[in-house]
Amino acid sequence: MSHDAPPAEMPRRSQRRDASRTGRQDRPDLGGDLLSEQPERGDQENRYKPISMKLISRLLGWMKPYRGLYALGVVCGILSVGMELAAPRLVQQIIDFAIPSKDMNQVLFWAALWLGAVGIGLLFDAAQVGMTNRCGERVVTDLRMALFDHLQRLTMSYFDQTKLGRIITRGTSDMDALRGTVIGGINTMVLNVLLMVGSGAMICYTDWRLFLALAWLIPVLALCNRLYRRRIGVAWQVIRVHFSRLTANLAENITGVRVVSAFNRQDENLNRYNVLQEINTANNLKAANINGIYQPLLETIGFAGQVIVLAYGSVLVLHEQALVRQGLMPAATALTAGQVIKVFFYWAFFMRPTITIGNFYNTLMQTMASAERVFDLMDMKPGVEDRPGAKDMPRLKGEIAFERVTFGYDPQKPVIHDLSLTIPAGKTFALVGATGSGKSSTLSLLARFYEFQQGTISVDGVDIRDATMRSLHKQMGLVLQVNYLFEGTILDNIRYPKPEATDEEVYAAAKSLGIHETFEALPSGYLTQVGERGASVSLGLRQLVCFTRVLVANPSIFLLDEATSSIDTVTENKVQAALERLVKGRTTVIVAHRLSTITKADCIVVLEHGRIIEQGTHSELVAKKGTYAQMYARFVSHQMGHTGPE
């Protein structure tokens, strides 16, 4: 069958553009020099990797726990190959002795032996398959769980920078690619090599002249194999790269279908898609051509061997049988027809692995790319880790102190400069400032999502880096702008931080925030499904669920990155009321966008470019007539509708 689509993977895009083919066609001719540069593409994932022993041995390292079982599997495989190799010998026996003996029992006897050998061989083979697959599946499971475990410890920067789809691919299609090698890896090589060596040896043992007559085909075979592998490898690489472009184009067109329709781009887009399709067709034809030449070539080599065996064999038989008849040679050492036919079969065995090994090599090359990606991810430093000797924090009072903290996602570009701030236990602080002023980063640092470069942050006088992250996080409730909910019911989501919480505890939490009725009023009440990422419930409701979830966790410190999106007034009132109840008795830090939140805070901290420029209560700051007062005045006037060109 032909190979239009490479094994399904997440749509990807590759940077290597085949400029000679596509560069001109898939770009609109917009005219003007500003549109003429070649656009750059990022990321290139679909490369074939050379076989790297380092990666292979690392992969094999994961098989260690199961090596006993695997070794037993390989032994079973070797025995099954042995049984297979016995068959032609028995056929020879039938041809040379049983048939000429004119005794039917002789034929039946040897045939029964043959059948027995085949049967035992099959059982051994099944055992081999069972054992090696068992190991392979376990190894893949181990790898997958290790990967997941590692992801739980990786720094947040990784998740900020990496697309969701790409991470998922590591755990899915990359793992599937590894599976092939892990399961079939060693035994495919061992057994196929054994079959080749074994059948070669049997040919040599049967008649060295026939062996020599065939031997010269082996380097020819090796050369063909090598040429083929290289060519088909390149062809496949090209197919994948272009096919992923086709997929990406399709996915983008579907995602942006509203824009496509609104701007009447259907015809143009179809043309571009078809250009990609034509390239894809041409690439596939190239691969088909390579396969179409190579497979018959391989068969022809096999066939040449057959002809040599039959022609040269019959000449030899003819010659030696004549010698026997003349009494010049003992009958026992002369070549027989049965032996020639035996060699004929062994030659078939010898040829069989050439295709298997070629395919396996192809798989291996793909695996290398996957293995590299998986291990690169596993080697990534977690970034933020518990220090050795970090202690669990006792129940916190919630006093927070930033001392001269400097931090940048890129250490060269700090977003927080020399920030010092003390928040007494139980108080509510509002952080305000422009985008990029460092409000959200301040929250993230407190939650220890990132490692800061200078200064200290302490809670109840303990440096947060000396505390275990687990104990810290258990006592901090964090609600982000994007209210992430897990697929499941509202009840499940509220209970998320404390799975053992009873329904009553959940209801009590909702009641104390004054939103029990809101949940109850939903079509299925607390059992309403929130859908993927909470998409089936409204934004406002998602926020209410998040607040209740925090209350169930009952943290000493509450961190909120207030949502900027607009929700309707009724829900907004509920959110604000719930928030007021939630902050009571907890140290609260809010990245605030809503005026009511800001004015109710015990202290407003105004940030600009990662520095605190003003600090105080609303009335203090307004009285001070500084930046905040200015902002507030403009805000009020904007609300009154007086912003405009005047």
Binding site: L30, P39, N133, N274, Q277, N289, G313, T435, S566
Partner: protein, 614 residues
């Protein structure tokens, strides 16, 4: 590309030729084997002592027979290789040309079918249909049609060989086939549910992984890593169990299936050997039969793959045709003409519309907007504001009532003219992974660089574009530069401006832009859109009050209508919202988005310290 039919015909012919030649080469193997056998039994006592060549050219000798047999075999083999190459390449041709048309058809259908269809299916599902489902159909056509030809001719050829050699051998060969077929079928039936369970288990595993990563902040914040690990481990173990079920079945069934094949092979050979013993069969026939049996069994296995592919193709083609045959949700009438030129006057007459039957989102909405005016539509979330704007571009047709632009019912106009007349900017705007310039020039590929720049200037995007690494040639999207919400909105505005519509719909389109820039963009828009119609969809009173006319939408109905002053004078939703938004005091609600943020941004910009983006 040549027509698909041509490729199919050529490919089928090559398959037939290949199958026949394959059987022929088998048959030609017989003579050399027989000759070897004759020497072995002493039946022939020729010698090659005069030299092999001399022996082989002696007329009437076995040597000559051997030579001719080998030449024939070589010729057949050569032909076989050529046919093999031909059928591989030709199959690729035919299947690629077939898939080309199917893919193009699905692609085109998906971009024209209308939004009702897209509302029903997720992106992933649609991508799947256009890729894997199509692949399944193609595989069946290849395996079913050409594999069928192959099997038919090879099997017929093999049986012909058997019958010629020995009818009893043919019968024996036939006998084993039902067992073999039964075993393979059984395996397929047993493995089907296991595969399905494996896929389900795999889906569940992926779901936990996806949720864990998408919700990584929540996981970290609540320190529930262990809980997540536990969840994932359970899923992984379940998947492992399912995979091992498959392995177990394989271990159980493979020896059975291969055992049947091997046994029938051995038995056939034994029967043949006995016949040879009795002189009823030549050794050459025996070897040929043995090889023929191997080929035959391989074909039976293929037959099973075909039924498997068939089942998959039936499901897939159903799903494909669901796409291909889905009717346009907004069909174009055969006599439709382009919209008449005009300034964008809009008339909604008693429009009722719902995404699902029985649940109208818009209820009996009527209003008239003269060309060149500015209309604001306000109302709470879910009131139907965005739906109303989607109807304006004829992305959906109203269930009842009609919508006319410049006096022409939208259903009487060509779709492309309607779409060219309406420009949209949304709160969230989809940009393509392409350069900035080509995103702006999305609707007009012939646009000159100056026009692109001009549109960017109007949208106040030119400055930040100039600061991008490759300016207008910077690639944006997943693998390119990432843009902030405000920058995306400005690009979308530029795109809509270049589209040059007579009606511009701004659906909360300036929500992520700071107020000063917003004011400047509005000013520019006013200049450019003079004499054309602008719809402002907003929940912000400060935006709405700038409109000539305000429509208040609530639960799909227009509840209030008038200028800002009119509406402030009467009690109702508008005045309530306005007063709550204006009351910049304790308890003020709904102070939209991050005003604080924007104000300080604007002030920072004035002082020239803040980069446009963090």
């Amino acid at each position: 590309m040549a027509p698909v039919k041509f490729h199919v015909a050529v490919n089928a012919l090559l398959y037939v030729a290949y199958s026949i030649t394959e059987v022929l080469t088998l048959y030609l193997l017989k003579t050399p084997v027989n000759i070897v056998q004759k020497f072995a039994t002493g039946e022939v006592t020729e010698t090659a002592d005069a030299g092999v060549w001399a022996w082989m050219t002696t007329p009437g000798s076995q040597g000559e027979a051997l030579l001719y047999a080998l030449i024939w075999l070589g010729a057949a083999r050569l032909a076989l290789s050529l046919f093999a190459w031909g059928k591989t390449v030709s199959q690729s041709w035919q299947s690629m040309s077939m898939v080309y048309y199917m893919r193009a058809a699905v692609y085109d259908r998906l971009q024209r079918v209308g939004f009702s269809f897209h509302d029903q299916y997720s992106t992933g599902e649609m991508v799947n249909r256009s890729l894997s489902d199509l692949q399944n159909v193609r595989l069946f056509v290849n395996q079913g049609l050409f594999g069928g030809i192959d099997i038919l001719f090879t099997m017929a050829g093999c049986f012909y060989l058997f019958l010629r050699g020995s009818p009893s051998m043919a019968l024996a060969a036939l006998l084993s086939l039902p067992f073999w077929f039964w075993a393979i079928r059984k395996y397929a039936l047993l493995s089907q549910p296991i595969y399905e369970r494996q896929m389900d288990a795999s889906d569940e595993m992926v779901q936990v992984l996806t949720e864990n990563i998408a919700g990584v902040h929540v996981v970290r914040a609540f320190a529930t890593e262990d809980l997540e690990r536990g969840k994932f481990e359970t899923r992984c173990k379940t998947l492992l169990k399912r995979m091992l079920e498959g392995v177990n079945l394989q271990v159980k069934m493979t020896p059975l299936i291969r055992g049947i094949a091997a046994a029938s092979h051995v038995l056939l050979f034994t029967l043949g050997a006995v016949l040879v013993q009795r002189g009823q069969l030549e050794l050459g026939d025996l070897i040929v039969f043995g090889s023929a049996m191997t080929i035959l069994l391989a074909r039976v296995q293929q037959l099973n793959q075909i039924t498997d592919a068939y089942q998959r193709a039936v499901v897939s083609s159903g799903r494909l045709f669901e796409v291909l045959e889905s009717p346009d949700s907004t069909p174009e009438r055969p006599d439709s003409a382009p919209l008449r030129p005009g300034g964008g006057g809009v008339k909604f007459s008693r429009v009722t519309f719902g995404y699902e039957p029985g649940r109208p989102v818009l209820n009996d909405v009527s209003f008239t907007v003269p060309a060149g005016s500015k209309v604001a539509i306000v109302g709470p979330t879910g009131a139907g504001k965005t739906t109303l704007s989607a109807l304006l571009g004829r992305f959906y047709d109203p269930d009842l009532g009609s919508i006319a632009v410049d006096g022409v019912d939208l259903r009487d106009a060509t779709l492309s003219s309607v779409r060219s007349s309406v420009g949209y900017v949304f709160q969230e705007n989809y940009l393509f992974s392409d350069t900035v310039a080509r995103n702006i020039a999305y609707s007009d590929l012939g646009a000159q660089g100056d026009a692109v720049k001009e549109a960017a200037r109007v949208a106040h995007a030119h400055e930040f574009i100039e600061r991008l690494p490759n300016r207008y040639n910077t690639v944006i999207g997943e693998y390119g530069a990432s843009l902030s919400g405000g920058q995306k909105q400005r690009l979308a505005i530029a795109r809509a401006i270049l589209h040059n519509p007579r009606i511009l719909v701004l659906d909360d389109a300036l929500s992520a832009v700071d107020p000063e820039t917003e004011a400047r963009i509005r000013e520019e828009l006013e200049r450019i859109m003079a004499g054309r119609t602008v719809f402002l969809i907003t929940s912000r009173i400060s935006t709405a009050r700038q409109a000539d006319r305000i429509l208040v939408l609530s639960q799909g109905r227009i509840v209030q209508e008038g200028t800002h002053d009119d509406l402030m004078a009467e009690p109702g939703y508008y005045r309530d919202v306005a007063s709550s938004q204006f009351a910049a005091s304790e308890g003020a609600m709904g102070t939209l988005a991050s005003h604080m943020d924007r104000i300080s941004r604007a002030s920072a910009r004035r002082s020239g310290r803040l980069d446009d983006e963090p």
